[in-house]
Amino acid sequence: MMPLDLVLWLPLAGVLLLALVPDHRIAGRINVAVAAATFAASVWLAWNVLRTGPEMSPGKLFYIDAFNVYLVALTAFVGMTTAVFSRPYMEHEVGRGRVGRQRMRLYHAMYQGFLFAMLLALTTNNMGVLWVAMEAATLTTVLLVSLYRTPESVEAAWKYFILCGVGIAQALFGTVLLYFAAERRLGAEHGDTLLWSVLHNHAAQLDPAVLAIAFVFLLVGYGTKVGLVPLHNWLPDAHSEGPTPMSAVLSGLLLNVALYALVRVKMLVDGSLHTQLAGHLMMGFGLVSFLVAGLFLHRQHDIKRMFSYSSIEHMGLMTFAFGIGGALATFAALLHMTVHSLTKSAIFVTVGHAAQIAGTQQIEHIRGLILTQPPVGWGLLAGTLAIAGFPPFGVFMSEFLVLNATMKSWPWLTVPLLLGLVIAFAGLLRHLQPMVYGIPPAGQVRVRANMLPVAVHLALVLWLGLSIPLFLSGWFEQATRLISGGLSL
């Protein structure tokens, strides 16, 4: 169990260490080193799982299967590349006087704390610990959203705290009901009744009436964190007002982890209910989020706000796909989780640089990036085209698969889906064009930018669009079989 221990202990040690380092330059380097070590450990873990199959820790508290192993690696990877981006970016912010040294200590410690919370949520087998970790992910990031202490950022952080806090409280109620249903059938003697693996094995015996109520609470709870409309209000604010590395990990990782929790719950509920209730609810919420967020893209003035609406849109699409529930749709959703996470974090990295070049996040003042600093301009162009679903990027692949699956099982839903894709495409492109081409305004200066993370992410997305490596498709297929209930592709 060595690699799993490392994956969790490294970021936790990072929190303690970084809380003690007063110099933000050194802390930035330590942050990168710890994140890189965590990624190495996660690759080791993935290698072990690839060779020997699902792993259960001795105390049964942790469980790694095909569904979460690639998410662990993805989380650690994006955590590492964002840390690489964060170092020069935050130094620039300190230089501009937007944030003091004391707060940089908080920033670095909480960055690792956030990674720890997400890795804990992904690896744990205990539904209660999953909830604790999700709440901890909110708690670690809420002070980072208000890091700049502007009235807007404080407001965004308060909204984030209250909405996510209350939302996730519903999920705890759902977890209590889950425990209640399990305890009646299995007894509380072992103390492992809240373990996902145990619940999943006995799902058919759990009381359907209680599980249906539990699912509604869990959907609202974790759905708030996924950013499903109408529970999404916190998301654009928190993403746009916090420091950009935070936006990258919130959009790229936190939303994924929340959706992961929801899908784990859906697997239990499906096993008990034998109806499509959970799937239909997720389809409804997903489709509404997808369409509403696509429309909101058109009226944005803040570049980070715009891309956070794009995140809501994509999370809606994934929720919809998981809701359809067949093998094809599930496979597409798993792929989309991966490519969206990679693309969106790359975009936020680029957007961070673009905002530093222009000195503002207002779209109308960001002009002519390609002329001012070509790598940033081209990066933004490529990233936005990728997220809008342009072939041959991976996002196109997964969206195409979702569309296919919809045509098979819900033909008339293809119409709103296609419409939504076009609306979102237009919404992104109309803002993008003047930002990257256009004439740069006077006073727009180049900044020190590390575009390596962006290039690596986009290359990976391109690769996934052209061909999915064998080990990854193997995991996707196993996870698909697990989630969609024994069906093969």
Partner: protein, 225 residues
């Protein structure tokens, strides 16, 4: 289900559960900050008494630890932190104007009836002595939400938030004699951290808008400019 069929401790559980619900209504009606904090502390204390009684009746000794944890956290530490914060911000005597106070109380009553309706299938399945209180715990959660919706003062919202947590803990005790210890400790830790963060936020909000009136946090919205 008949009250007369319950033994003395069983009746005690019901009485203290009813008192927890009562404190929820007191908080809903209380517009002064300081008494609001006291009412919240009382809710925590009554909750821990209920938990201790359940532990006594059911023989689940780990519930004693939960009861102690609740008492320390919800009846002493968090109210004390809030009280100290209110004094440092000089808001403990502030009176909030709440619109339609009687309508809010009525809405609270409707919520309680609604909770009894929703919890019916769950309570019918349960065989625990606490099955009659599942609806009460759910009502505590929803009344906490109602408190948050109807108030504008940041402190009142935080108390609503914490009272939701009280309701959730109560739900766990009432329906399953508490969650596994590791989960309960984790939740308690999260609540404690949340309380500390809320304290930090009071000062940040105060510094940014010179008030603790949440309605004045209105810079971010989706309006066309």
């Amino acid at each position: 289900m008949h009250l007369s069929a319950l033994n003395l401790y069983g009746q005690g559980i019901l009485v203290s559960a009813a008192l927890v619900l009562f404190t929820s209504f007191v908080m809903l009606a209380q517009t002064r900050i300081q008494p609001l904090i006291y009412a919240f502390a009382w809710q925590g204390a009554l909750l821990s008494v209920t938990t201790a009684l359940v532990a006594l009746v059911s023989g689940h000794s780990h519930l004693y630890i939960s009861a102690l944890l609740t008492f320390g956290l919800k009846a002493l530490l968090i109210p004390w932190m809030l009280y100290r914060m209110a004094r440092r911000l000089h808001i403990q005597r502030e009176v909030e104007t709440v619109s339609h106070p009687s309508l809010i109380m009525l809405a609270g009553a409707v919520l309680v009836v609604f909770c009894y309706y929703v919890a019916l299938p769950v309570a019918q399945l349960s065989t625990l002595v606490t099955r009659n209180t599942i609806a009460v715990s759910m009502a505590t959660v929803l009344l906490g939400m109602l408190l948050m919706i109807t108030r504008r003062a940041a402190v009142a919202q935080v108390i609503g938030f914490m009272s939701i947590e009280n309701g959730l803990f109560f739900a766990a005790v009432a329906s399953t004699y508490g969650m596994p210890m590791i989960v309960e400790l984790g939740v308690a830790f999260d609540v404690l951290v949340a309380a500390v963060l809320f304290g930090i936020f009071f000062f940040q909000i105060r510094a940014s808008i010179d008030s603790l009136d949440i309605d004045r946090l209105n810079r971010l919205s989706e309006k066309a400019e």
